[in-house]
């Protein structure tokens, strides 16, 4: 029963939560050079956290409402473009030597993306999705149609040419430790993602609101029967999810520094893969999936650049064969 003991040991240490660590170890062995490994790992974790921001809302909305929003990537694109426009408008503050002005500009840009996400989420839920609850086929079609329209609006408003995103001066550059260099922006993105995750985790697991949301995921009818207005909860979660996607898009825009309207569509595939890997409906699963996808795409991008996107697909296939409903699904 040696194998069994090993399994128990792994479960005790955290089970599937260890997978990103395992990916890091495999990456370390394959890459060899510690300094490149650290750079790639930081990049992977930062990318993972930004993808987590974009994907968490999608996963929660699916878990709670059984609605999969194919138009989710529109929020990502809009977040990116709204933030880029605000930053461009405040370019005077960005270049200013005062860190305070820098921070203010960044905070305003992120707040604008969040506010836009909240408002667009409200509109989307009420107008687009509400009429087609519980009808998956029409849901997929309607949200796809909404995605087409949103992409066209972005093209009409901002044009098809790439737009440069100005970063605040205090996030430019890199920390250099020995022969390891870590971009400050990546550190910031990682920290922001971690804060959002902690906030979501706390809300879901330690507050009454979170209790209701989790109960709604588990058994909607029962929560309704107990007298709670679960549809209002749905709108709230949907708006929050859209706002987080917009925030993720804004951060991603700063990471890329050059954005095109195709950004949302490109990220959507990654977001879907993350949600599938993580298991629908759980933010822990989404975080795991996002970190793994971020790490794997950075490692593979370094080791075999041509396989970068296919690697995510292979990762997804492998995990689905092992666990058909993802790593930590909340929905049965």
């Amino acid at each position: 029963m040696k194998g069994f003991g090993m399994t128990r040991w792994i479960e005790k240490m955290g089970g599937v939560n260890l997978l990103p660590v395992a990916v890091m170890l495999v990456g370390f062995v394959l890459i060899g050079a510690p300094s490149s490994w650290v750079t790639l790992t930081v990049a992977g974790l930062a990318m993972g956290m930004m993808v987590f921001l974009m994907a968490s809302g999608l996963s929660l909305v699916f878990g709670l409402m059984d609605v999969l929003n194919f138009g989710h990537s529109a929020f990502v694109s809009f977040g990116a473009f709204v933030a880029a426009s605000v930053l461009a408008g405040l370019s005077g503050w960005l270049g200013a030597p005062s860190v305070l002005l820098n921070v203010a500009a960044l905070a305003l840009a992120l707040a604008a993306a969040l506010a836009f996400g909240l408002a667009a989420g409200l509109f989307f839920e009420r107008v687009i999705i509400k009429p087609v609850y519980k009808d998956h086929l029409r849901q997929i079609l309607i949200t796809m149609g909404a995605l087409i329209v949103s992409e066209q609006i972005i093209l009409a408003l901002w044009g098809g040419t790439p737009i440069t995103v100005h970063r605040p001066a205090f996030l430019e550059g890199a920390w250099i430790i020995g022969d390891i260099s870590i971009e400050i922006y990546r550190g910031f993105a990682f920290a922001l993602g971690l804060v959002v995750f902690a906030g979501l985790y706390f809300t879901l697991n330690r507050t009454r609101l979170g209790l209701l949301i989790r109960a709604g995921v588990e058994n909607r009818e029962m929560v309704e029967a107990l007298g709670f207005r679960i549809d209002r909860l749905f709108v709230g979660v949907f708006m929050l999810g859209s706002a987080l996607a917009a925030l993720g898009g804004a951060m991603w825009a700063g990471y890329l520094t050059l954005i095109t309207p195709a950004l949302g569509g490109e990220m959507m595939i990654v977001v879907f893969i993350v949600v599938i890997i993580g298991g629908l409906g759980s933010i822990e699963g989404t975080l795991l999936g996002a970190l793994m996808v971020g790490l794997v795409s950075n490692y593979v991008g370094f080791l075999a650049p041509k396989l970068a996107l296919a690697s995510n697909m292979i990762l997804m296939m492998a995990i689905l064969m092992w666990r058909p409903s993802g790593l930590r699904p909340a929905v049965k």
Binding site: E151, Q152, G265, I276
Partner: protein
Amino acid sequence: MSMKPTYGSIGVKLVVLLIAAALLFAPFLFQDVRSIEVAARICIFIVLVASYDLLIGYTGIVSFAHTMFFGFGAYGAAILLKQMGPGWAPVVLGGLAGIALSLVIAVAIGLLSLRVKAIFFAMITLAAASVALVLASQLSHLTGGEDGITYSAPDLFKPATKLLVDAEGKVLKIAGVRMNGKIAAYYFVFLSSAVLFGLMLRLVGSPLGTVLKAIRENEARAEAIGYRVVAYRTFVFCISAVVASLAGTIYAVWLKYTGPETALSFDIMIDILLMVVIGGMGTMWGPVIGATLLVIAQYYLRDLMGAAAEAVSSVPLLPELLNPDRWLFWLGILFILLVYFFPKGIAGTAMEKGVRQ
């Protein structure tokens, strides 16, 4: 129990017949190059959209990988035509290779994910399609990357080929149309599309088609009666993939060019979705109407929108939205409204009207 067909369904069939006749005589009716392009594209898209309707309309599966299979067929023929030179062997071999690859991938995706929820399947096909698109642009020594591949069609389809000659040895003209290779190419597209469409029509009329509808209406009950739902779904997914792949091969031979824009891009997937929803899901006539309307709109609506944009150039934002490049904006809105109010599309809604006692 036999029901008389409604007036609406007679009307829809008449319209389809009219479209078929127009396509059959297209080279004689519309004698300019652009119209023949439009007619050939309509033929191909009718087949492509009808094969997609087998999935979405007859079994209720949403796949976003349909262009991937279309692309396999197109690239199969294109790569071999480029490497082996013009001839029939590369077309046949390339077509078969496209079918084989489509079958393998369709079986793999189907068995892996058709047993789970429809939404899961949609996401997985979307991911697979995007990987195919990236691979096509990265394996550039084989696929020509973003630029695609240009090649020659078999000799029969070259414009210089004389199909029929008059007494002086010149190309014979019938009703003012030169009987050259271009005509042969068009009728190759028309006839092969007609055969494929006929086969699909036969399929949905067969007992198999009835089982598919049963699965769409009530999956659990179909399973309980003893039909193996996963097996049927995988089978339909494979059939529709094969037809899409063949349509791709035909299109590659017609265009003499294959690239991501014409054979793989997500825009084509969106076109297919629009066509099947606008035309009407769950009937083979819907795709005919949807594909015809949308292809014509693609070619001619843009001119109209350009004129409209000029007319409102003083109003803010409106000219931007009426820009010919923004035509998808309006189609997207139309699409959403149709899914809300007429989920059965033009054909489905019309066929319910005018019940006869």
